[in-house]
Each structure stands twice: as C-alpha cells, then as structure tokens.
C-alpha cells in the first residue's frame, strides 16, 4: 500500500520536476520578436532575399502555384527567390505557426484564415500590411487599390489592421439543374424564395427523367453549416452582426424567416439535410436533387461529375433568391499574411504578394485553381476562359454583390453554436428557446475574448 502511494507520488512529481528544470533556461521563446525600431520602408532594399511561403494547395493547384513561383523568381527585378512549401491543411499550418512563434522558424508568407490571422497578429507574429499598401515606392497606387473588390480587402481588415492580402476568393452559389427545371415547367432559376419553395415541391413530385434512382427526388439538401445559413440570411438582406460589426444579431426576423421556410419544406419532404460528406454535391450530380448550395471552388468537381462520367445534363450557377435590395452572395477564403521577420524579408514577401495579385497573375491563377480573382480588371484577361466556362462566368458576375461573414473575435465558436442551434431546431426544438440560448451563448463568447 505504501509502495503504491510512493509510486503514485513519484509518478506525479517526477515528471513535473523533470519538465520544469529545462524550462528555467527556456524563456518562452521570444526569438521572433523584433525590436521596435523605426524602419523607413522607402529606404529598404529587398534584393536577393529568400522568401519562404507556406501554402495548403495540392495537386493541380500546387503545380501551377510552383510554376508561377518559378516565373516570379526568374523575372522579378530584385533577384528575390521565393520558395513554396506545402505545409499541410489549415490546421497543420496553424500548428507549424504556433511552434514557429515559440522559438521555431517562421516563414515569410503564410496562408491563414481571418481568425487565425487575428490570433497571429495578437501574438505579434504577422505585420500590418497597410504601410506596404500605401507606400509610394513599393505599394499600390490608388487606381490599383480601387481595382480590388473592396469587400475582400475589408474582410482582412481587423480593427484597422490589414492582416493579410487575399490571393483569391470563393463564393457560395446555387447550383441548379437546367434540364430538370425545364421538365418541371420553369425556364429560369428562382428569383424569389417563394418560387424556390414552389420548385422544390414540384421536384419532389416529379423526379428528373435521367436520374438513376427515381425513388429519391428532392428539391434541395441543406448542409448543417453556419456558412450556408449565413448565405441564406445575406440573400434576404440580413446579417449576423450589427452595423458596426461589434455584436452578434442572431435572433432576427431574417433568420427566423429562413429557418421557418426550410422547416416547412422539410416537413413536406421537399428539402432534406445533407447526410454524408459532399452529399448534396453527389446527389445533384446524378440528378436526384434540384438545387445545391455550395462553394464555387467545387465547380470543377461538379463539372467532371456531371459531364464526364455522370448522368449528363445542363446545369448552371446563380445567386440565391434575393430580397428587395438585390442579390447578395457570401464570399470567403483564406488570405496570405506576412510574418514578422526582418524588414527586408517582409518587403520581399510583400513584393511577391503584390505581384501575385496583379491581373495577369490572377488570370493565370484563376485558370488553374477555379477560384475568383481579387481585382476587377482581371476580367479583361479572362475573356476566353469565360466562354469556355459559362457557369464560372455566371458566378463571376456576382462578385460585386459579395459580403463576408463576421471577422469578430471568436466567430469560430459562434459558428459551432449556430450549427448546434440548427440541429436543435430541425429536430423539433422550440425555436424561441433555442434562439434565445444562441444569442446568450454568442454574447458570452464575445465577452470572453
């Protein structure tokens, strides 16, 4: 008995002692913090710098990115060399960044979502890009800055700090089956939500003629995802945060309207819930579901699934049915941040970033990645591409109506809360109670930040 107690004691204490001793010398890793000297941007020389870029792209996108990097290395006037490194998925990259910030090595450029960028900035791991953007020598002139789709830039602007520059964006679009719509007697995608509901009901009654499994026919499959809900709320003119973007406004008439409509259609079995990974994409591709709400970055997957070895039908993309104010689409994507390394390195990194967002490069990137560009003038370079990819063009035209989800601190947690609330309500929970709980919890999460 005594031996066991002794063992337990030692087992608990030994690790602590062993672990704390070496920490006496470690100081928590301040190596990446630089002294706050006043650096004059104009006087810096980025020549010959090596820039390390951590990204998450794979396969064709990665191949094209690496080719573009090679071209940059060859053609840039300062002899800057960029080295691209696949650093895993978003969570893996975050992992690498947190160890980098604590004494490892940081890259020069890193792909980060807004909430991650905010966390990096708070730890002084990345820098504000505003000085670079407005610099007369190195920055973007006012015409170039205006050429950006402003909502994209705004999304990365957190409390006045430009935490990153968007290299591309995606948006949530409504995929629809043209052939099936015609069979049902409609000649255009729904312009209002009532029309949408009508079409869903009809789709349930009348399966698509080419569908391999006629017993399963639905109008729409909703995915339990905060972004889908946000898209629908945006489309009727609503929002998830108040006008200043400081507090959550979740229990709104817009939200109730959206949820109510979905619940009604679910009750009529005209709408279902996505029940497997990419379920709506899969079922849409074989003509079992009339509409699908997904990211535009899935366009190539839809295309190959439908046209190459699928059922084969005409399909299109458009915005969700809109309210009186016109269409609004949910736009999102990760941006690229510049890490807080030596000033010359930062400048060189910025140089590459600027080059990447130029229309010529954006057009090239669009062709390989199927993302949307961040500068309006890119359209001039994509004329042929638009002809070859009409669905892409249809979505592209909506970029001007873009709106983003909140970049409020802690929004990631609130996304989870929203999803839980969706599950609750669709399960038959009391809408008032659930939404009240949601508002309280969201408010609490904001207070905790």
């Amino acid at each position: 008995m005594k031996k066991k107690a002794e063992r337990a004691f030692r087992a608990a204490i030994l690790p602590l002692l062993a672990g704390l001793l070496p920490l006496a010398s470690c100081g928590g890793g301040d190596e990446s913090a630089r002294p706050q000297e006043k650096v004059v941007l104009e006087e810096l020389d980025p020549s010959g710098q090596e820039v390390v870029f951590w990204y998450q792209h794979t396969r064709e996108r990665e191949d094209e990115l690496l080719r573009m990097i090679e071209d940059f290395n060859r053609t840039n006037p300062h002899g800057i060399t960029v080295r691209g490194e696949y650093a895993g998925k978003y969570n893996d990259i975050y992992n690498k960044m947190i160890v980098g910030l604590q004494g490892g090595t940081l890259p020069h450029l890193v792909v980060a979502y807004q909430n991650q960028a905010r966390a990096y900035y708070q730890e002084e791991g990345i820098v504000d890009l505003n000085p670079f953007m407005v610099s007369p020598k190195w920055g973007l002139d006012s015409q170039a800055r205006a050429d950006f789709f402003q909502p994209f830039l705004k999304q990365d602007n957190i409390d006045g700090v430009q935490t990153g520059l968007p290299p591309n964006r995606s948006m949530e679009v409504l995929y629809y089956n043209i052939d099936w719509l015609e069979e049902l007697g409609f000649d255009a995608p729904p312009a209002t939500w009532d029309k949408f509901a009508e079409m869903c009901r009809k789709a349930k009654e009348q399966p698509f003629s080419k569908s391999p499994d006629q017993s399963r026919s639905l109008g729409f499959l909703l995915e339990i995802d905060a972004s889908r809900l946000a898209s629908m709320i945006f489309s009727v003119g609503g929002d998830l945060v108040d006008a200043e973007g400081k507090g959550y406004t979740l229990d709104t008439p817009h939200l109730r309207q959206v949820l109510g409509r979905m619940m009604g259609l679910m009750g009529e079995k005209a709408v279902g819930i996505v029940s497997e990974d990419y379920g709506d994409q899969k079922e849409f591709s074989v003509g079992q579901v009339l509409f699908a709400l997904r990211s535009s970055s899935g366009l190539p997957y839809f295309k190959s699934a439908i046209e190459e070895d699928g059922v084969g039908f005409r399909w299109g993309v458009t915005h969700l049915p809109s309210g009186p104010a016109g269409p609004v689409v949910n736009v999102y994507g990760a941006s690229i941040s510049v890490c807080k390394i030596a000033p010359e390195g930062q400048l060189a990194a910025w140089f590459f970033l600027k080059w990447f967002t130029e229309p010529a490069q954006q057009a090239r990137w669009v062709r390989a990645s199927n993302y949307f560009p961040v500068r309006k003038s890119t359209a001039q370079e994509l004329v042929e591409y638009f002809v070859e990819n009409p669905q892409y063009k249809a979505a592209y035209d909506l970029l001007g109506y873009g709106k983003s989800e909140p970049s409020v601190a802690g929004y990631q947690q609130v996304r989870r809360l929203i999803q839980d609330a969706m599950v609750d309500i669709f399960d038959g929970g009391d809408v008032d109670q659930v939404l009240e709980r949601l508002e309280t919890a969201a408010g609490r999460s904001l207070a905790e930040q």
């Binding site: 337990a8 087992a11 672990g19 928590g28 791991g125």
Partner: protein, 379 residues
C-alpha cells in the same frame, strides 16, 4: 562492488537509452504542459496566473474537496465493511455500519461535490469526461471479450490460419483516413447506407447514426412512441453517434488486441496442455485453469493500454465527428484540440490536458491495484 550495487548499475545502464528518449520526448512535455497551464497563454507565453485555468475548468475548489472527501469516506466504508465482515463472519451489522458510513459519503461526494463542480466548472470539461467515460466503457469490455474469443478460436483452428489472421488484422492496418471515410458512408443517415439497409432488414426505421445526438435510450423510447421523457435520459446515456463511433473503434482495435493475445497464447508452454490432456480435462477447464491464468499478463497489458488509449483517443473520433452529433461525441481530447485550434487558447487547453493526465493516472493506479493482483506470472 557488491552484487546489489552491481545489479543496480547494470539495470540503470540497460534502461538508460530508453529513458533518455522518454525523458526528453515523453516526460518533458508533461512538465511543459503543466508550465503552460499556469499562464495566460494563447500562442506565446502571457502572464502567470497560477491555477486560474484549473479553477475555471474544474469549478470552485470547495466542491472538489467535498468530492474527494466523499470518495475517501466511501473507501473507508468499504474497508470497515471488509474488516468487520472478517471479524464477525457475516450478519447484518457490517452492512448496516458500512451503509451508515457509505451512503452519506456518497451523498457528500456526488450531490454536494460533483453537483457543485458541474455547476461552477466548465461544461466542456465535464462533458468531455462524461463522453470519454461512455466511450471507454463501450469499447473496452466488448473489444477485449471478442478478441479473447477470436484469439482462442484462431489458436485452435487448424486450417486457413494465415488467411484469417490477415483478414482480422486488416482494420488496424488500413490508414484511418480511408477506413473512416468508408465508415462515415456506412453509418450515414442516407437511406442507402449500409447501416440503414441492415436496420431496414431487421424491420426498423432509418436512423441518423453519426448525425444523431439523441441517446440510444431516448431513441428506443421514441420507437415505443414515448416521446416525452426526462432530460436526464438523453444526458446519461451515449448518443447514437457515439455508439456508431464505438462500433468503428471496436472494429479497428479487435485486430490489434487479437494479434497481441495470440502472441501471448503462443507463449504458453505446450507441456501444460499436454499434461491437462493426460489428466482428461474438459476444454472449459483447460481454458479456465491453464489458458486464462497464463495469458493474464497479456490481458492485463491490454486492459491497461486500452484504458489509457481510449481516454486519450482522438484521431478516429475527430474524423467521424459531424455537426449533427453536436457535443455528444466530444471526448476530452477533442475539447482540448478545439481549445488550441479554434479558440486559440493553449494555456487553458494545457490545464484540461493536465486534468486528463491526472484522471488517467488515477484510473491506471486503481486498475493496477485491483487487477494487478490477479495476474499470474508463471513462477
């Protein structure tokens, strides 16, 4: 140099290489995690806050004291009962005295202690512990039971051993990315999923499986058309989503357990079996008196490892998580992961990780004490 000192020296030198690696990569992280948990630490070290994280996670310390005091009293009651029973030789007195001591202890610990902790502590932590407990209780007994049976059958079978062994090892060897994708499809709410088709064969309605956050008992009651039941039915039983993940986990790890048990079974010297055969023992007697004791070191290893492993389990569960399951599958490891990657709060995560560490340590010690005595080491 006397023999004992010489022996000690040799022992430590044998241990040295492994200890060097374990100290650096196994023990140091534990100490580091403790260090991190004492600070405000989002990504980099913030200010020292002592045990604030622990207080926030566990709740008011007073309640923790009640909880532990209650458990200690309960243990005292057990010992009193045992010693009284040995002395009295039976009768109602020992039971009465033990109950007189034990029941208030139980009330103290659970109602006062645990109740208070649940109210003042972090719901994520306690939910995490609860789900982890469900997960462990669901996986371990079934896993070990089936593996023991399979190992024994394999050991006795004469033909096609190789084929069987490969087939049962497949699940463990398959990369998780792939097998999880397959199982997500098997357990999907879609009417065409394997689980639903199987369920329909048995005459039941489609279920939501991995997307179902209601408890299995709750679903059972609903099937009997009882749709109003107290809330604790849903919160005191595992959800269907968790049960689906448990089934997946059992499927994966039976191969692992069986292979180890086979190795253990194979080490039993033949002459024991030969002697038993000469004595005319029945297969059950052989199993109970020879096989089981001689394979008990291996079984002990597996049960210890299973407890530690399931309490720490992360990868499989993370991959099988769906929004529909809400937090009914969020074992503590997942709560910790979310704290780091979504909430960007490494300090708080470290505190919870350390609580998990202590819980596993305590459980292992208890298990060692209770089961360790029954292991037969062959001498």
């Amino acid at each position: 140099m006397d023999n004992r000192t010489k022996d000690t020296l040799i022992a430590w030198s044998f241990l040295a290489p492994a200890l060097a690696v374990l100290a650096g990569f196994g023990i140091f992280p534990i100490g580091y995690a403790f260090y991190v948990s004492l600070h405000q630490w989002r990504i980099r070290k913030g200010e020292y806050i002592g045990f604030d994280h622990y207080l926030r996670a566990l709740g008011e310390p007073g309640f923790l004291v009640w909880f532990i005091a209650g458990l200690v009293l309960l243990w005292c009651a057990c010992r009193v009962y045992r010693s009284l029973r040995d002395r009295q030789g039976g009768g109602y007195l020992p039971i009465l005295i033990a109950a007189g001591l034990g029941l208030p202890a139980l009330w103290l610990s659970l109602d006062q202690g645990l109740g208070g902790l649940l109210e003042t502590g972090d719901h994520r932590l306690y939910n995490g512990l609860k789900i982890t407990l469900f997960y462990a209780l669901g996986t371990i007994p079934i896993q070990l039971g089936i593996s023991m049976l399979l190992a024994y059958l394999l050991f006795k079978s004469l033909r096609a051993k190789g084929v069987f062994r490969i087939l049962l090892f497949l699940p463990y060897v398959t990369p998780v990315i792939a097998s999880a994708v397959v199982f997500r499809t098997i357990f999907s709410p879609h009417p065409s999923s394997v689980a639903n088709r199987f369920w329909a064969l048995l005459g039941f309605e489609n279920c939501r499986w991995l997307y179902e956050s209601k408890s299995v008992v709750g679903l059972f009651l609903r099937a009997l058309d009882i749709s109003t039941y107290p809330a604790w039915v849903d919160s005191c039983f595992p959800s269907l989503a968790l049960v689906s993940i448990v089934l997946y986990n059992i499927w994966v790890y039976i191969g692992y357990d069986t292979v180890i048990l086979l190795a253990g079974l194979s080490a039993i010297p033949r002459h024991y079996y030969e002697a038993a055969e000469i004595d005319g023992a029945s297969p059950w007697q052989v199993f109970r008196n020879i096989t089981l004791p001689l394979v008990s070191p291996t079984l002990f290893f597996l049960s210890m490892v299973a407890v530690i492993g399931t309490f720490k389990a992360f990868n499989h569960i993370y991959i099988m998580r769906t929004p529909g399951a809400r937090d009914s599958v969020d074992v503590l490891s997942i709560a910790i992961f979310d704290l780091i990657f979504e909430f960007h709060n490494a300090g708080y995560a470290a505190a919870m990780a350390f609580v998990l560490f202590i819980a596993i340590l305590a459980l292992t010690l208890v298990q060692n004490r209770v089961l360790g005595k029954r292991v037969f080491y062959g001498d």
